[in-house]
Point group: D2
Chain length 412, copies 4
Amino acid sequence: MSFTQVEQISKTIDKISLANDNGGTENKVLVDLKNINGYNPGFQDSYPRESVPEHTRNRLEKYGIDLSRGYPERPENIPYYLDEGYAVRNRPNPNYVERGKNADPEKKALFSAAKEVKNLSTFIGTELVGVQLNDLNEKQLDELALLIAERVVVVFRNQDLSPQKHRDIGQYYGEVEVHPLVTHVPGLPGITTVWAEFNRGGPLLKYKKGLHQGWHTDLVHEFSPAGITHLHLDSIPVVGGDTSFASGYAAFDKLSKPLQQFLEGKFALNKSAHNYYNRDNILGGVEPIVRKHPLVITHPATGWKSLFVNRAHTIGIVGLEESESKVILEYLFDIYEKSLDNQVRISWQPTTSGLGTSVIWDNRISQHIAIPDYNDEITGKIRHANRVTSLGNVPEFDTNSKSQREALGLSI
Amino acid sequence: MSFTQVEQISKTIDKISLANDNGGTENKVLVDLKNINGYNPGFQDSYPRESVPEHTRNRLEKYGIDLSRGYPERPENIPYYLDEGYAVRNRPNPNYVERGKNADPEKKALFSAAKEVKNLSTFIGTELVGVQLNDLNEKQLDELALLIAERVVVVFRNQDLSPQKHRDIGQYYGEVEVHPLVTHVPGLPGITTVWAEFNRGGPLLKYKKGLHQGWHTDLVHEFSPAGITHLHLDSIPVVGGDTSFASGYAAFDKLSKPLQQFLEGKFALNKSAHNYYNRDNILGGVEPIVRKHPLVITHPATGWKSLFVNRAHTIGIVGLEESESKVILEYLFDIYEKSLDNQVRISWQPTTSGLGTSVIWDNRISQHIAIPDYNDEITGKIRHANRVTSLGNVPEFDTNSKSQREALGLSI
Amino acid sequence: MSFTQVEQISKTIDKISLANDNGGTENKVLVDLKNINGYNPGFQDSYPRESVPEHTRNRLEKYGIDLSRGYPERPENIPYYLDEGYAVRNRPNPNYVERGKNADPEKKALFSAAKEVKNLSTFIGTELVGVQLNDLNEKQLDELALLIAERVVVVFRNQDLSPQKHRDIGQYYGEVEVHPLVTHVPGLPGITTVWAEFNRGGPLLKYKKGLHQGWHTDLVHEFSPAGITHLHLDSIPVVGGDTSFASGYAAFDKLSKPLQQFLEGKFALNKSAHNYYNRDNILGGVEPIVRKHPLVITHPATGWKSLFVNRAHTIGIVGLEESESKVILEYLFDIYEKSLDNQVRISWQPTTSGLGTSVIWDNRISQHIAIPDYNDEITGKIRHANRVTSLGNVPEFDTNSKSQREALGLSI
Amino acid sequence: MSFTQVEQISKTIDKISLANDNGGTENKVLVDLKNINGYNPGFQDSYPRESVPEHTRNRLEKYGIDLSRGYPERPENIPYYLDEGYAVRNRPNPNYVERGKNADPEKKALFSAAKEVKNLSTFIGTELVGVQLNDLNEKQLDELALLIAERVVVVFRNQDLSPQKHRDIGQYYGEVEVHPLVTHVPGLPGITTVWAEFNRGGPLLKYKKGLHQGWHTDLVHEFSPAGITHLHLDSIPVVGGDTSFASGYAAFDKLSKPLQQFLEGKFALNKSAHNYYNRDNILGGVEPIVRKHPLVITHPATGWKSLFVNRAHTIGIVGLEESESKVILEYLFDIYEKSLDNQVRISWQPTTSGLGTSVIWDNRISQHIAIPDYNDEITGKIRHANRVTSLGNVPEFDTNSKSQREALGLSI
């Protein structure tokens, strides 16, 4: 039990009665799973239309979304049990195509549509100025997939993006993840809501003292974890709420050759953000889904090696003692989080007020963090985004692959 | 969830049926607390008489203990719920007398009974050679209490100790702790069983790779935590199974004056070794009892300051951020565990085979650890002990008290 | 000795001869301090005019700087000995005026000159769009001083800044630091050269694997450490070389009240980046200048408390044991370096090519780091800057001062 | 520079004069290496005969040692320069014979001479009761060598040991190390003095607050590092001054198989305890001798793998980044220092007053630490020992060798 109680499960259990039993009744308890919503935003009621930030409401309604029954929409058929959680997509992403592999390496179709191709740092992050995502064709989307694979994260400002196009682009890049617990745009499962005011239950984010870290990779507990991921902010505070991204290619290149070789071929356990009841041990407390993935993976489009761990979800290296695993993972997390030359910090500010900003990244080769200086007394509570996540391949390590610096012929 | 599963709760829940309810039955589950014994050695069946190690059996039966119905005995009326756990002795140790305060500071009655008074290290540990605990009178016990308060731990070898005298000495020093879950000598609650073969369920201790630490202080979750504690080994392996003790006085003296002042007057949260169900959140997993005690305490008999923390049970410093607390507690644990000049390592070997060894220490001013090189392929499984714990005062910090080195006029 | 030798002193000692002495000559060695330039860029030869990056050359020559004898210029009268190093400005900043205290809190004169006042994150960093530093009057400079004191760092792009104005603004804010070892613009001591190609001796920066950290505060070893500091980049790579800044106000606010109180009133030792010979122990290796400053300081203009430590230069907390100091400083460094809501990352890109970017910050209330993804195979070697540092007050802690969040009435 | 100055070099440089030179004299300094004795106990004057502890004096004079010119004796021809330090035994131990390989595995000759063979813990440490080292023949010494190789450390109490026999036993086990700087018994270089009162310059050991660690392995900077090492205490305080030993076999067995495989075949850098001037960089400060040895070695007599690192002297793993090396070595040091089941704590107390205690261990497969609770206000200053170190083989790793637990068929 954490003494700060930050993760304590909600206390709303509905104790109905004690049942009868031969050996006496005093030890039998009837519990109701339904009322336990501490970890289940899926249970949360939607907000009325009027509570939706203006720019968000305008965008969604412009594209025909019906907000009259509130926003966002809750998923149906919530899984309570761990086995139900595992059963969600317990198989490879079907018919997966790595779009970047089909792309023109020079990306002429995509780049010719841009007013400017602006690298945001030397090794990670590119902004495409003057491109509307709504307008991209499949050839351009293939090139964008390759650009993302190379630059990890790509920014598009001043977007007029429909939720339908948001979903369609995602679907083109792979099966769109539909979360069993998290809310979505009404009628469009897969377009997830990222909205602090709602997700945190209305109030401003509590200011956090102490050393809090939020670096993570999305959905690493999936059989086929998140690949290309598209977050669209349509309601953007004037200041605050940047997102930082870190490159897994560059994190891998920070390691010595012997440490790289030690990690290659090893597997890590990765847990889910949400928790479920263990049907065989209901009283044991909620548990996350845990899946095993290679610690070093090769991106199918670039062929570059990437370090596939993150502080939020990676809980152990298979085969090591727990104390060894802890020391080595802590080092790998710090390499990811403290090497600023491997990172880019992206402001969501549009240059044209009222339009949205899309950031598209590949979760297989990165970590990110939402910098928590929004949704407070200064910035207010307006920040709202939708996310569409395309699931990628089943993570693999290709022993013949190279690190980014090796492949680019850079000094090591 | 720990990926090593070392603390995973037992999976023997008895799911009887689903009950009926207006809103549908699918979310209601009837669970039976009784069958959950993962954390409850109280549920464990006793062993037959023949399985008890020979020396132990001889001693217990010599003093009239009936082993015909097995050994050890389980407690009755097991508490399942956290509130029941808290309710066990939720009040100060009644009529507590600090025996050491009444003692002759020169301890003439006690020392004159000893063949030799042998200090085992400069600052902690004394062996009294040639003394039988069975023979000590109250005047001598008072002096022993003071000796323990000063030297932290005192050793008596070649003991012929009756379980009854074991209990009586304990009762003289304070209310004897009767654990609601842990087994005891048949007919004598309060004489706790410390027996790896039984407590670990029979097999040899699994060899542990990795960095395992076992330093702890007993029963710090009590309202009045453990004071004078008397462990008697009556079945002793020829080699292995030493116990190391570390002095809280000396640990405090290792801190700089400013850090001492920072810690004085602060409180820490201390959890129990056993866990219980939270009646208001049964599905939240088991939880320990947690009690708040001063981080620096003053021993009533010596008036010396002692550092009252231990890695196994101290989970936070009140008022600090969790990240701050973690860093400072980790340092304090290491000061306790790594400062060998603050420690003594005690072998239980008797010089006369067949007799037992008693070690008596004060848990208020110490940590200890059983060194896990017994109960394996080399040593066999014979180690058995009984423990009697006298609860002490409610821990307090006296702002006018001194550190041990200050009080003794030693260089700082 | 570090096995990586990264800081090993240069090996160019000129051993002339052995001298004569009564007790035999074999142990006497004559050494020449002059040739030891490992730590002394002051000894470095300047580059020819043609090696200076084009934009830098154009700017400097436009404003009358004579580059015909090379660039940059070396200081004269290099100090070799520690006592000489200490003697440089071994007194408070003379006639210091805290300009921000005289400013209009609303900063109307300054803001009305700006096309836009753009906060770069909620708590740190502001860009003034459309302002030329060359044009600011004293009233505006006073307001700028206050803005810097509040926002920690202020950005001006598209600047046409003369070196003379650069120096004059610095002088207005306090005595301009003239470094005894570091090179400067010819004829203008105090306008320091920040030029990786030159400072690192010409080649590209070596790519660094491993966990390298570069967060620091400038010139904390001074009697009156650096206050307002103005870095002007006139030759800017197309990508790379961002600088991140972290707020000491916000770092202090991340600490719990008890830890804040523990640190307030304490002092830390802060060392210089350069090293000198100890006249009383020449063979003992070079040593830095070390000065004692409060660990928590109060900024004179805002009255807010700030955490005054940095990983590069703060070597200990006075009064603590070394092991305690290490643990606590490590935590404070991480709070500064890992709390992204306390940081801003600034790109130096101008929007008008050929013009420079000025970033002005207050070293008393911040740390910064140059992100090392410039000066490599991709970016080339063109990055060049000049820095003018105004020394501030002698750091003090005002027991009646408040933290930033307290003063602003924000939730804690 | 450490702000605590604990290791600051002595400040007794003899600055004679400035010499003449064409380019001006101001930068030339004549320094006298001879007077720099901070790191050179070799320069220390001996004490008069009367200051030698009584039991030590009696023993040495009984065996013909002349103390009339003081005690101990200083070495001649002190090396000042690093190259001179490296030149001391810069070659394998000549004609080395691993005595344990020739021994009867049952050790019948040795054991039959003992009253009792008493293992002190399950995996490390044996006491041979009733054996006089003075009396052992070569067959018994061979068996003792094997016993040490298996049990790491062996204790002999109540010894009447002559310094000559002390040296002869050492010489039988390998070339006796003669330290170029450390003092020895007059006329007997190689019989080193371990005497806190003298080595620390007379006063009581300063009490140390803070987290101080002293675990180390002797002489790992040698081409052929220390093998069998024999410390004989002839003046023993009544209490205090225990020595703890930790097994490198057992430390290796604590690592997971993958981590073992990562470390096998790698090399570490090991520095000397003493420092020397770098002839090519005299002003760079003193430097230790550094030698490269396998991180995992195989003991030639047992064929068991051992972890060959220690906190005091191992400064890096070859091929890793410094930050990686630091994290992994810190873990390995903690495994050695915190795993109490891998350790034994040995009291030097004789059972017959006036006789000495010998402890013989193998430095290739162990670390040890003198517990610093002697030489203080309570114990006085009488502790004195002599040490004879036999250099072993050049450390090697045999890829076909086994860990101790593997070889013994124990559970893993």
